[in-house]
Symmetry: C2
Subunit: 130 residues, 2 copies
DNA sequence: GCTTGACTTAGAGTCGACTCCAACGGCTAA
DNA sequence: TTAGCCGTTGGAGTCGACTCTAAGTCAAGC
């Protein structure tokens, strides 16, 4: 798979893919005799996992660390598991927080809905004069 | 409330508060005769709302736009409502997406759990030789 | 009167994550 | 054989959001 095809399948720009290889998120990408990258299905599975970590807020540096562990072999399994569990815990908390934010936002929207009907936002403390 | 007290109550650094005022997220902050800022309870409520928008992924530029609308008065109520509803919809989708990511992550962690017991990650296709 | 410390400003620097640029190579089609 | 692509590289530039620095003001305490 050349870089354009891989870009199309991952939704990551060719620029960014080269950048990821440069900083070590993608490693040992095969090359054709002319020097062009030749991405594999394994690269695809890996980059999809990288995307998941990134999309859930893990910094590239930490993903890089995970890649280091992965490269180091089976004696880093426990550390990788720990890393993923910590990340999953953060994610759980973050989702709960976002849900709270959403609830509050919906409260505010409800205020706006009735305010738009009245044409003003402020809610007077006292009944309007007759 | 001086900038330190306001910083303590919001969790936003004094640096960042000045920055927010500079870029127009905080407006018409009162000053003491010596030029020091004197934040009000209304400033507090506003900045907490700003934090909520920011924490849910709204760029400062869009929050700035909301501040513009707010400043323009009651004839922007409908537009503000729309902006918040759009944002709430994005947030809803984002939460669903994050939840999916979490589920997949948990699947992977489950794999790791059993892998750590075995001491290797790969799952052989065939039963082990006797 | 002098130091200390919190505050002020404009503007520069940092950081993470891209994003682009210039200069080049190799393949194909006219 | 030359034009037009697609690919390569190192390195520079951009962007959002801070974060810090330098130089200054001002009030309180010793």
């Amino acid at each position: 798979m050349n870089i354009q095809a891989f870009s199309a399948r991952t939704g990551i720009s060719a620029h960014t893919l080269r950048y990821y290889e440069k900083i070590g998120l993608l490693r040992r990408v095969q090359r054709l005799p002319n020097g062009h990258r030749n991405f594999s299905e394994a690269d695809l599975r890996w980059i999809e996992f990288v995307q998941r970590l990134k999309d859930t807020g893990m910094p590239l540096e930490q993903i890089h660390h995970y890649a280091d562990l992965r490269e180091a072999g089976d004696n880093t399994l426990a550390e990788r598991q720990q890393l993923l569990e910590d990340h999953a815990n953060h994610l759980r908390e973050s989702i709960a927080q976002q849900q709270q934010h959403l609830d509050k936002l919906n409260d505010k929207i409800a205020l706006y809905r009735s305010a738009v009907k009245r044409g003003r936002l402020s809610c007077p403390r006292l009944p309007q004069p007759a």
